[in-house]
């Protein structure tokens, strides 16, 4: 009886999750048409940054390999997707200094195959960067990956027949919508959640906590770190592709260190090593980024004309980052997760505390 009850329950659970997902995406599809463009843009950015930040967290938080190369992988993904989705006629118009090289100038793919290609290409680049870089530890890894991202940017600025150089790409088709960006976010959450419950995920956490002990237990450091790095690069690549097709123009200077800093900040504020923390923090920071834009624009308050202060947003965010790292070094979630079970156990504990006080 018990066994059958459990089966029924789990089927019900799966059905409920599926229904919730369907409803969620229906809502998003409806919202895409009915919400105003500004809200839709911010929600899109939220979804994209959730995915990218989870990717960074896989490498930096769960595996403890502090990489600063995320902007480079985003650039690879963004350029791959853009080059594959742009119409040949537009490419011809955009590449007026030097024409685009042969196979790329005449093809146009759908969005999904382009994004998959972006994942593959950024995964390959991630492997090429990661394989030599992950043998370094701590801050050496940080500076090396930062260097690789910078090299990628310089290459993109200089290989004009492929990337159009510093002029960047314009007229990328705006394929990204809420369903795509939040679909990406959900896929990333699912991948991370599955990964972290698997033996592979536990091996990654073991590497983070003590590399030498993990190796002694038979964890292959190279392959584990490398795979974490590659998956992280792939998530960043797809995120970059979605970003490019959302804002429709990209250029190499978008993908500089400040972009990595933004993603890193989202991960640190949420807690390096927490999936739910990352999701909440990436969404909040994205919204805050837009809300604080007001600080940088001139405005009038009670008849008083206040000039906008460029740079003020990042001052606020860097202060927030400093405060978190100095006073709550684990971010607001640490490596804990928010889940129904947790909420339930918290409720039971509270009830028990109440009854014991009464009794």
């Amino acid at each position: 009886m018990m066994a059958r009850k459990r089966v029924v329950l789990s089927i019900l659970k799966i059905a409920a999750v599926c229904a919730a997902l369907v409803l969620f995406f229906l809502l998003l599809a409806w919202g895409q048409e009915h919400w105003d463009a500004y809200t839709v843009r911010i929600l899109n950015l939220c979804g994209i940054y959730i995915g990218i930040t989870l990717g960074l967290n896989l490498c930096n938080g769960f595996t403890g390999q502090f990489s600063l190369g995320i902007a480079g992988f985003m650039a690879v993904g963004a350029y791959t997707t853009a080059l594959l989705t742009m119409a040949p006629a537009i490419k011809q118009a955009v590449y007026f200094i030097e024409p685009l090289i042969y196979p790329l100038n005449s093809i146009q793919w759908g969005f999904l195959p382009s994004l998959l290609m972006a994942a593959i290409v950024s995964g390959i680049v991630g492997f090429l960067v990661g394989a030599p870089a992950i043998r370094f530890r701590g801050d050496y890894l940080a500076i090396t990956t930062l260097g690789f991202a910078e090299i990628i940017r310089v290459l993109f600025t200089n290989i004009v027949p492929i990337t159009n150089g510093a002029l960047g790409l314009k007229g990328i088709p705006p394929h990204t919508n809420l369903v795509w960006s939040w679909g990406f976010a959900l896929v990333c959450v699912a991948v991370m959640a599955r990964l972290m419950r698997s033996g592979f995920g536990r091996a990654l956490k073991a590497i983070r906590d003590d590399e030498i002990a993990a190796e002694a237990m038979g964890v292959n450091l190279f392959s584990h770190k490398c795979l974490a790095f590659v998956v992280s690069a792939m998530m960043a690549g797809v995120g970059g592709g979605l970003l490019g097709n959302l804002i429709t123009t990209i250029d190499p200077n978008m993908f500089r260190f400040p972009l990595t800093f933004t993603v890193l900040m989202m991960a640190v504020l949420g807690g390096l090593g927490s999936i739910t923390g990352t999701v909440i923090s990436a969404a909040l920071v994205t919204v805050a980024m837009e809300a604080l834009r007001a600080l940088e624009e001139p405005r009038v308050i009670f008849g008083l004309a206040l000039p906008g202060i460029p740079g003020m947003r990042m001052v606020v965010f860097s202060v927030a980052l400093m405060m978190v790292i100095l006073f709550f070094p684990k971010g607001f979630m640490g490596d804990r997760e928010l889940s129904l079970d947790r909420a339930k156990s918290l409720a039971t504990r509270l009830r028990r505390a109440n009854t014991s006080r009464q009794g």
């Binding site: 502090f66 090396t144 090299i151 310089v154 740079g311 980052l321 070094p329």
Partner: protein, 297 residues
């Protein structure tokens, strides 16, 4: 390439190398003692140029006094940053300190943008440094001699402080082991503060000379020279002052000569330093002059 242009490039290489060397010393000293990439070092360098700029431009001080005040203020800034942002994290995981350093770096760059404005400012250049000097048929301004000469003098002074004084002994002791140094009566916190003061003061000298050389300063000028000079320090062997100087000169020379001899690769100039870094880490991770480091288990 004519002899003249070659000599001009040599002069450029030596000057840029000197500036890189001055900045790299700050990185190598801090890394040696705290095992931390002081990401904010580039911003300390940037802010020093603004101190000097405001001294001459707003307070109308004579340039000698203004530069001196700028150096002192920058040294103080370095000490304050260490105390506020790095000291509380000294026992935390090293990655926390690194994140804190990145945070300070961004905070200062953006504060610079807020306070100083994003538009580049023109640095005051005393005419004495612009006197033309003729040497072997090449005319260069005096600055090209002042920068390497001043760098050399500062290096001698630094070597004296580190190897001949009690303070230097304390700094070197702290570099080995905090606890043992404390047991021997070394005030480790003071040694670290002095390290930051010296490193920042050298960055300020570098910053002022940077202003004299390139005439234009802006709030974003710190990040790249900063990263490059950290690479110079790694290249020479992190923790080793002579190594940082050597690395700085190799990087400065390399960049200038790359552009001079292979103009087609000029666009790759900013990647040069990072390629150098990756190569040296793969081939000789401890740098040219570094000792072999063992990982303690």
């Amino acid at each position: 390439m004519t002899m003249e242009i070659f000599l001009q490039n040599m002069a450029n290489g030596i000057t840029l190398g000197s500036l890189y060397a001055l900045l790299a010393i700050g990185y190598t000293m801090v890394y040696g003692i705290l095992r931390l990439i002081n990401f904010a070092h580039g911003e300390i360098f940037m802010i020093s140029t603004y101190f000097a700029f405001y001294g001459t431009a707003i307070f109308a001080l004579p340039w000698q006094i203004s530069f001196l005040i700028a150096i002192v203020l920058t040294a103080l800034l370095g000490v304050v940053i260490e105390r506020a942002a790095y000291r509380p994290l000294r026992d935390a995981p090293r990655i926390s300190a690194l994140i804190s350093a990145i945070g300070v770096s961004f905070l200062m760059a953006n504060l610079g943008l807020v306070i100083f404005g994003g538009r580049p400012k023109t640095f005051y250049r005393p005419p004495i440094f612009q006197t033309p000097i003729e040497l072997g048929g090449v005319r260069v301004v005096a600055l090209f001699f002042v920068i390497p000469a001043l760098t050399a003098i500062l290096l001698v002074a630094l070597n004296y402080i580190v190897y001949k004084t009690k303070t230097g002994l304390a700094m070197r002791a702290a570099q080995w082991d905090f606890d043992t140094a404390r047991l021997m009566g070394v005030d480790v916190d003071r040694a670290i503060s002095i390290t930051f003061a010296i490193g920042s003061a050298l960055a300020a000298v570098g910053g002022i000379m940077w202003g004299l050389r390139f005439a234009e300063i802006n709030p974003n000028m710190g990040l790249f020279p900063g990263l490059k000079c950290f690479i110079a320090a790694v290249f020479g062997g992190i923790g080793n002052i002579s190594g940082a100087v050597l690395g700085g000169f190799i990087l400065g020379f390399g960049e200038i000569m790359l552009v001079a001899f292979l103009p087609g690769l000029a666009g790759y100039r900013d990647a040069f330093a990072f390629i150098l870094l990756i190569l040296i880490l793969l081939v000789r991770p401890t740098g040219l002059l570094g000792d072999k480091q063992r990982v303690k288990i």
